[in-house]
Structure formats: C-alpha cells, structure tokens
C-alpha cells in the first residue's frame, strides 16, 4: 500500500518537466496571439519595419529574424571548424595525458557565463574591430558572431568528441589493415561513421547560438534594421526581447509582439532539438548502440 503511494508520488513529480514545457507553450501562445489581431501573421514575420514604440507602431520582425540568422551563421563559421577540429585533435592526436587535461579544461571553459563573454566582447573585441575595419562602432554582427562562435566551441567540441568515441575501434583497425594511413582513416572512415553524431553536435551548437541572449544583447549593436553586411550593428530576436521587455507596458501591443518573437524563437529551437534527437537516435542504431 505504502509502496504504491511512493510510486505515485514519484510519478507525479516526474511529470513536472512535461508540465513546465506545456506551461511554457501555453503561456507563449496565450501572450503572443493577441498581437495577430493587430498585425497579420505574415506581415508580422515579413514586415520590414520594427518601430514598436512609435505613436503608430509597426511590428515587422524581418530585421530581427535576419539578424538572428546572420549572427548564428557567423557563429557557425567560427565554432564548427574550431569545435570539430579540437574534437578531432582530442580524438586522434592528443595522448592519454594531454586528453586527461584538455577534455575537462574544455568542459570547464564551457561553463563561463554568457554575460562574461558579452563583457569581453564589449571591452576587448569592440575597440579591436573598430580600429581594424575603421568603423563608426565596433558593436556589429561580426563581433556578435565571433563571441557567440567562441562561446559555442566548447559545446560543439565536447559533443563531437563523444560522437567520435562511439565509433568502434574495429572500424579503425580494419582501415589500417587495408593500408590507409591515420589521416585517411580519420577522414574516410571515422568521420563518416561519426557523421550524424557530429551533425547533432553542430545542430545543438546552432540551437544554443540562436537562443543566446546576453552576448548578442551586449555586442550586436542593437540596430533593428535589415543587415547588409557583417560590419553593421544588428538586433537579433533574443536581444530585442531582453532589451525591450522592461519598457513594454504589460498587456500592450509591444508586450504581445515580444512574446510572439519568443514563440517563434521557441518553435525554432524546438525543431532543431527534435532534428538533433532524431539524427542522434539513428546514429546510435547505425553503430549498433542501444537507443
């Protein structure tokens, strides 16, 4: 009798994650949908003007969406070569001792708070980039991409390294046996075998970059215009929410518009996570690991 009670208590508590997730979805929809009485969904997403505080406000978030895409794309260009390259180094070249130091070191570096990255971008990278490219301001999409990329590198590296370690030793040995050297084995056997695991790492790194708030809020510059180059200030979606929610009157159009941005952000990362999960499941089955 008592046993059953315990089981039920644990089961109810176990549902908390599901409840919170559903709660987030409900809250986002409930607070976001009213904006679509004011603007049509398509106009909201494809509108080119974001003037939420004007007397005749305009709610077009295309500049914010494009800013997020640009910055994330830039971050990928930084974190994929660095992260995957480091993982391959850890896997192939680092000896036991080096690995025992580097692996935890990279994990520790992954825990540097995002606000510290943002601070670093503001005080060190900003003047550097400004002088380098002779810009009116160093707070640009490029700056945000660099900082985000560096920030996502440890995550991508750790996950990619895990994926590489799942590849059975026998694959490598078979490759060596037919006369391939280490580099050929790495690029033609190990990387393809770990390919979907590595792409999961990249997708999760991307998902992290899209959702990252403090760094882009601090270093992206904040101009809500459609970006034309990496050397201009931009305002990604997360930065818009964080910067404007404090001033948006509760229950007003602006408030609902910001929730609608959050909803789009949530759905985007949700899709990325589902894709990552599907790929990684297939990866495990392919290598004969339990799902």
């Amino acid at each position: 009798m008592k046993e059953k009670l315990y089981k039920w208590i644990f089961m109810i508590l176990a549902f908390s994650s599901l409840i919170f997730l559903i709660g987030i979805v409900i809250v986002l929809f409930k607070e976001a949908l009213p904006i679509f009485q004011k603007v049509k969904p398509l106009e909201f997403i494809l509108g080119k003007a974001w003037y939420p505080t004007y007397s005749t406000p305009e709610f077009g978030i295309l500049p914010l969406i494009l800013a997020s895409i640009w910055v994330t794309f830039g971050a990928i260009l930084v974190c994929v070569p660095l992260g995957v390259g480091s993982a391959l180094y850890l896997h192939e070249l680092a000896g036991h001792k080096q690995r025992a130091i580097l692996k935890p070191l990279i994990e520790i570096l992954a825990s540097i708070p995002s606000v510290v990255y943002g601070f670093f971008g503001m005080v060190i990278l900003t003047p550097l980039l400004q002088n380098l490219f002779h810009l009116p301001t160093g707070l640009t999409a490029l700056n945000a991409s660099l900082v985000l990329g560096i920030m996502a590198t440890p995550t991508v590296c750790s996950l990619a390294d895990d994926a590489l370690n799942y590849v059975p030793k026998s694959f490598r040995e078979a490759s060596f046996a037919v006369g391939a050297n280490r580099w050929q084995t790495l690029t033609q056997v190990v990387i393809p075998a770990a390919g979907s695991g590595i792409s999961t790492a990249i997708i999760l790194g991307m998902s992290r970059a899209i959702g990252e708030t403090m760094t882009v809020l601090m270093v992206a510059g904040g101009a809500a215009v459609i970006p034309h180059s990496f050397l201009e200030p931009v305002r990604p979606m997360t930065a818009a929410i964080a910067a404007e929610m404090g001033e948006a009157p509760m229950g007003g159009w602006h408030y609902h518009a910001l929730f609608a941005i959050a909803l789009i952000l949530f759905l985007t990362t949700f899709v990325f996570n589902i894709i990552a999960e599907m790929i990684s499941r297939r990866f495990r089955i392919k290598l004969g690991l339990s799902g």
């Binding site: 008592k2 046993e3 208590i9 644990f10 508590l13 176990a14 549902f15 908390s16 994650s17 599901l18 919170f20 997730l21 709660g23 987030i24 809250v27 986002l28 607070e31 660095l82 480091s86 180094y89 850890l90 192939e92 070249l93 025992a100 990279i106 994990e107 520790i108 570096l109 825990s111 540097i112 708070p113 995002s114 606000v115 510290v116 990255y117 601070f119 670093f120 503001m122 005080v123 060190i124 560096i150 590198t153 440890p154 280490r182 580099w183 959702g211 708030t213 809020l217 997360t238 964080a242 929610m245 404090g246 910001l258 929730f259 959050a262 952000l265 949530f266 990362t269 990325f272 996570n273």
Partner: protein
C-alpha cells in the same frame, strides 16, 4: 609520399584549431583577470556600491546571486532527483517514459530568455509574486531542472543492478531499496551534478532580467519578495546603464572576475570529481 604530406597538413590544421580555441578562451580569462585584480579588494567584496555606481563594491550583488542560486536549488533539487528516481527505478519502459524524456531534452534546449518571459508571465504576473527573489529562484529552478535530472539519472544508472537485486532478494521493498541502498551509493554522483548546475545557475542573466534583478538596492534583500541585485545582471547593467561609463567599466571588470572565479571554481570542482568517479566506475 603525397598521402603523408596531406596527413601532415591535416594534423597541422587540427593542432591549429585546438590552439586557436585555447588562445581565445585563455585570452578571455587573461584580460579579465589582469584588469579585474586591480579592482578587487576586501572592501570591493564586502561593501555596497556608492556615489552612483562609481565607487564602493559589489557585496549586495554577490549576496543576491547566492540567494537566487540557493532558492533555485531548493526548488529544483527535490523535484529533479524525484524525477530521476522515477525514470531509473520505477518506470516501466514505454510511452510515458519516452514522453518525459523527450520533454526533459526539449526543456534543456529552450533559450534562457524564454524562461525569463515564462517567469514574468507566470510568477511575476499570474501568481502576483512581483519582481522578487522568489520569482527569480523559481524561474532559474525550472531552467536548471533538466541538468539536475540528467546528472542524477547518470548517477543512478551507474549503481550496479546486482546490489539492487541483492537488497530486493533479502525482502526489502522497492522504496526501502532506493532509500537505503541506491540513493546512498549514487549520492556522490548526484552531488557532482548539483554542483555543476549551481555553477550554471549562478551565471545566468537572461532569466532574471524581468523576474528578480535590479541595478541598485539599499542594503541586502529583506525577504523573498524583495528585488535583488545579482552579480551577472550587475555586470550587464554597469556596461549599459548609468552615467559614468569609464568608472563603471572598472567596477564591471572586478565583478566579472568575481563571477568568473566563482563559476569556474564551482564547475572545476564538479568536473574534477566527475572525472575521478567516471574513472572508478569505468
């Protein structure tokens, strides 16, 4: 031979990428340490800000971060461990477990600013808790729940099945086995996960922007319903608000170094312990 040249070039590229990563990350720590050390003193760590954020220290922000982290843990820890116990010890494999697992994975991927909005709409507004330590703690607690669950799960799964069976065969009940055998064995592993998530929570900014944090308070928070200063938010506010950017930047260096030190120490300890444990369990 051609393929050896390619191999050398390839390996060189790998070395280059790991070196670049370490240089980047190292330079963050280097620059902040060098300039932060000049600012940090006993007074800086034990006094409140004075003269419009241009003088004095960051003590209320440190205390605020401590309260927020403590609150988040008090909320998320029992919940997370209970969830992990259900998933590892009770649940028959099947639809429900899959559903819970998927929701944990997705909750882990939700952007932190979205948690902030959720906290604003639910805790601050709907439950009328206001911008307060309580709202911020609950928001941070939900954010860290997936991390606690997955590390508790890892710890529980590392407990050998045989000692569970031994306990059950001696006539112990399922709950008795969990309480007396499984949990004590898994405790070090669970603690590691907890320390790791403390490090993460202490550095989070976006979730507390609208739920707990404020730039300046007189003295320390008086109850769970008061606004607080928090270390990560303080860094952001020093760089973006106020009227004396130069003097504030100096203080922000000190605050960043303090935060960096706290977070890196905490996660360093956790990762070090975990490394050793994984070594023991193979």
């Amino acid at each position: 031979m051609k393929k050896d040249i390619i191999q050398n070039l390839g390996f060189f590229a790998l070395i280059l990428s790991v070196a670049t990563t370490l240089i980047f990350l190292g330079s963050i720590i280097y620059f902040i340490s060098i300039r932060g050390f000049k600012v940090i003193s006993w007074e800086f760590l034990t006094q409140g800000p004075r003269l419009g954020m241009t003088q004095g220290g960051i003590a209320p922000a440190i205390i605020g971060t401590f309260y927020l982290t403590l609150g988040a843990m008090l909320f998320a820890l029992p919940l997370g461990i209970a969830c992990a116990i259900y998933l590892c010890e009770y649940s028959p494999k099947g639809f429900i477990v899959n559903l819970i697992r998927i929701s944990i994975n997705n909750l882990a991927g939700v952007p932190s600013v979205v948690f902030g909005l959720f906290g604003l709409a639910v805790f601050v507004k709907f439950f009328c808790l206001g911008v307060s330590v309580l709202s911020g703690s609950l928001t941070l607690g939900i954010l860290t729940l997936p991390l606690i669950i997955s590390s508790a799960q890892e710890a529980l799964l590392a407990v050998p099945q045989s000692i569970r069976e031994a306990s059950l065969s001696l006539g112990a009940t399922r709950w008795g086995t969990i309480k007396n055998i499984v949990l004590p064995t898994a405790l070090p592993g669970i603690l590691t996960g907890v320390i790791l998530s403390i490090g993460r929570v202490a550095g989070e900014t976006a979730p507390i922007l609208f739920t707990a944090a404020t730039f300046y308070t007189r003295g320390y928070p008086k109850s769970v319903f008061s606004e607080v200063m928090a270390l990560p938010y303080h860094i952001y506010a020093l760089m973006t608000e106020g009227t004396h950017p130069d003097k504030q930047t100096a203080i922000a260096y000190g605050a960043s170094l303090t935060l960096l030190f706290i977070v890196l120490m905490i996660s360093g300890i956790a990762i070090f312990i975990r490394q050793r444990q994984r070594g023991i369990y193979g």
